[in-house]
Amino acid sequence: MTVLALPAFVSGRRLPNLWDAAAILCVLALLILVAHAAHGTLAPLPKGDTITLDPRWLPYYALRTTLRMFVALIFSTIFTLIFAPLAAKSRRLGMIMIPALDILQSVPILGFLSFTVLFFLNLFPGRVIGAELAAIFAIFTSQAWNMTFSFYQSLTTVPRDLDEATRSFRLSTWQRFWRLEVPFAMPGLVFNTMLSMSGGWFFVVASEAVTVGNTTFLLPGIGSYVSVALRASDLHAVFYAILAMLAVILIYDQLLFRPLVAWSSKFRFEMTSGGDAPDPWVLSALRRTRLLQILGEWIGDTATAIGGLRLRLPLAVQPRQGAAPSRLVDGIWFAFIAILVAFSLWRIATFVAASITLGQFGHVVLLGFCTLLRVAAALVIVTAVWVPIGVWIGLRPRWARVIQPIAQFLAAFPANLLFPIVVIVLVRYALNPNIWLMPLMIVGTQWYVLFNVVAGASAFPGDLKEASANLGVKGLLWWRKVIIPGILPYYITGALTASGAAWNSAIVAEVASWGKTTLTAVGLGSYIADATTDGNTAGIVLGVCVMTGFVLVINRLLWRPLHAYAVRRTTF
């Protein structure tokens, strides 16, 4: 099980420092710039392909959606393989790149969807490729930061003896990269890719149908299909879409991720054997089929040969001691950063002066607290429901084996496809959207809590179970002193993942529509969604920035310390 692997954002540095401040300013300015560039093109958009609600078209739409996913995954991987080594090996680049990544992880790009769509449409006027690229970019932003961070962390924690071995055998930079660094990073990279995948599905569905002002642009795909079905109040079509998505994710999961995870466990850096899960059927099939095996070996050999090339790259391995960094270059670099920060400050200042009043800002922060309340309440409910169930399942290995893959699978399902069903219920019974839209935010992410708690309870040491039974520890005391501390690190990992994703989904979850009816909950998510519909640039930027702020503060001040505490206190 890879459950103890962490989403990349928990394991970073804890307290914000000067570099964070610089990075925040630069990222903010970047957001404003993108918004500004896109704003000029708020012209009527070309009408895309029309979407039919005929279920026979669904496989085609599903294929288009999946393709986008794959292309984005390839881009994310390339980005990761280039960006992370740069940040890890160049001290100067690392200074600014790492805090920037850390912050980009917390930006709800979903709120910026309309701008990125416009930006890419503008690059390829009148062609579908622009919208396609925009959708792919949206998925990319949900995957890349996370993967890059994970790779970066692996690069900086390469075991010292292996590092010395590669150096004393005089491997070239290129050989070292493919023989040591990439393999060492592989398990974390695969796990984080899987984690970003569910976010990716969420984004791909949201990014296919984008409404800006009065124009709606539709790309052929499941997301567009659902949004058309919603406007047409076609319940059957919604169900078909959900079924299609379930099928797609099942195939994706079985064909790609199960084999990938099993394969990557080979790279896990531990010298103990055993505990390996049986090979998933796809991998066994691959290994048994002669033709595929030959093909696989050919690919493997080619990759090995390429990795073995004695290329010397300019990125020299940093000497552990010795040559002091050049002061002059440092000086130039710091000056460059200072200029960048000053420019960002100026951009932010002009933007704020032109379009935001203090009252507005206060209002948006207040809305942020509304959403915070909703996320917190949702987490409490999820905890109350799934912790007891998860513990119950986890202590029964036979159940755990069945439930675990199901929970992981459900976590990958894009929750926004389920929204229509909730909306129908809400409309039907005239429920208060301020309260009842809340479950939407957590509907997709609750599974993280479940499968982490199950994993924690399964891993609970047998001798401690026996000791507590022997001492007659029961009831509340057992929960308080035995099992809750025992699963705490696992639970926190699940909860923080769920909370992070809940913020992102707030943008979609606080506004829901069914036919002509639109339900809105008061909160930051609906504020951003409304601003998007109205084409209100300043509103979107303000909303996204405030939300980024909330996510950053909560991660830094709550989740990271909590996680560190849980690990410190409950493990030997």
Binding site: P159, D161, L162, E164, A165, R167, S168, F169, R170, L171, S172, Q175, R179, L180, P183, M186, K266, F267, R268, F269, E270, M271, T272, S273, G308, R310, P319, R320, Q321, G322, R568, R569
Partner: protein, 446 residues
């Protein structure tokens, strides 16, 4: 002996005035290696023997070119060393195998780095694998193998490039006693039969018998800072017999060498080479638990030693290596419970009192010893007594330690301070808050 004839042969490594320090701040450095000379000729096995912290592993890394010394002249075949040297390969204590490569791929890695074509790579890797007794394991992954087999892979990987010099960093210390012995004899057999494709071996060890068993020359290091305290030539021919009286005598002599009181202490030894710097007010403490100390004292006091024990005999009885036994003895010596004397260890009166006391009195004895001999513990207690709330952050004491030693040592010393202080009930320590405090009952003591 043909060894003597070969000493005239060409010099592989020569090191002059080597110094390795690690900058603490602008004014003070923590010195790891000080004024080390070494010259290594073809055809010999040289051992660097010393306690952990004596800088011998650092010296090995300097020879390999992995580390650049702060000062000094380091040459390989007369040329200054600037980076990892071709012709030198290394065997690691932790094996340093790549878990995702098979045995053969691990072994062939060094050849791949040299750009040896694939066919030749396979042939040579298989040769090395067969030589080292791993035939049949070519396609196994390291995690499927036992520790001894893994270290054989490490050896094959180092030998496959036919290095002139083989460096070994405590190669057998992660293995159990029997496995380690098999590997040692296999290696020495190959060496004596001249089947190893190397010209010389330089090995780091903290195991005295291992050094006497394998090496032609032994450099004994002293700690803090690391220096070559003495150099010994081992006159025995291979294969050597551990039970041979001359062998035993040499082991005894080395124990005596290694337990000599550090020069900085008490006696003004101006005669020793190079005037030592002023003794540091804060000394690193060994990571030794109170149970180990009590256990050793009880053993020495009991039968058959009756208060005076021969160190090699003690080490054998406990299956301990010098590196494990000596820190305990040294801790006892530091606290005034025991004394080293030419390869023996003897309990003092305080030590005898400790052994005879019950739990509470033992704690009192221990507390008194700490107060008398460990300034930093006295200082912590003093600060706590003076503060109105009897609390003090541990950070300031950590900082003070780090002024005098590397962070690793400061950390180890801090752990020992906490463990000893807790046992003696001199103070409590809260890890979450990282602070020392006095409990109520500790408060009104003296």
């Amino acid at each position: 002996m043909d060894q003597i004839a070969r000493t005239e042969a060409s010099t592989l490594v020569s090191i002059q005035n080597c110094r390795q320090s690690y900058p603490k701040d602008a004014s003070s450095d923590v010195i790891i290696l000080d004024d080390v000379q070494l010259s290594l000729r073809e055809g010999e096995i040289v051992g660097l023997l010393g306690r952990s912290g004596s800088g011998k592993s650092t010296l090995l890394r300097i020879v390999s070119g992995l580390l650049k010394p702060t000062a000094g002249d380091v040459r390989w075949r007369g040329q200054p060393i600037t980076g990892p040297v071709k012709g030198v390969s290394m065997v690691f204590q932790s094996f340093a195998l790549f878990p995702w490569l098979t045995v053969e791929e691990n072994v062939a890695l060094g050849l791949e780095a040299q750009g040896v074509p694939r066919g030749e790579r396979t042939t040579r890797a298989e040769e090395a694998i067969d030589l080292i007794g791993l035939g049949g394991y070519e396609n196994a992954y390291p995690k499927e193998m036992s520790g001894g087999m893994r270290q054989r892979v490490g050896l094959a990987r180092a030998l496959v490039v036919h290095p002139d010099l083989l460096l070994m960093d405590e190669p057998f210390s992660a293995l159990d006693v029997l496995t380690a012995e098999t590997l040692r004899t296999d290696l020495i057999d190959l060496w004596s039969e001249k089947r190893l494709p190397v010209k010389s071996i330089l090995m780091v060890t903290h195991n005295i018998e291992e050094a006497v068993l394998m090496c032609d020359r032994i450099l004994v290091f002293s700690s803090n800072p690391g220096r070559v305290a003495s150099e010994l030539t081992v006159p025995f021919a291979h294969p050597r017999e551990r039970l041979d009286p001359d062998f035993r005598q040499m082991v005894d002599d080395i124990y005596a060498l290694m337990t000599r009181r550090p020069v900085e202490h008490h006696k003004p030894l101006g005669v020793d080479k190079g005037a030592p710097a002023a003794p540091p007010p804060v000394q690193p403490l060994p990571v030794v638990g109170t149970n180990l100390m009590a256990g050793l004292m009880e053993t020495i006091e009991g039968e058959p030693y009756n208060g005076l024990a021969d160190l090699p005999a003690l080490a054998n009885a406990f299956q301990m290596e010098a590196d494990e036994l000596l820190p305990i003895g040294e801790a006892l010596q530091m606290l005034g419970f025991a004394e080293f004397d030419e390869g023996d260890i003897k309990l003092t009166d305080a030590g005898k009192r400790f052994v005879e006391a019950d739990t509470d009195d033992r704690k009192a004895e221990f507390a008194a010893a700490l107060r008398a001999h460990v300034p930093i513990i006295t200082q912590i207690r003093q600060v706590l007594d003076e503060r109105w709330n009897h609390r003090a952050p541990a950070l300031r004491f950590r900082d003070e330690l780090e002024d005098h030693m590397s962070p690793d040592y400061a950390d180890a010393t801090m752990r020992t301070v906490i463990a000893w202080g807790r046992y003696a009930e001199l103070f409590s320590y809260d890890r979450e808050a990282d602070q020392f405090s006095l409990d109520d009952d500790q408060d009104d003591e003296d």
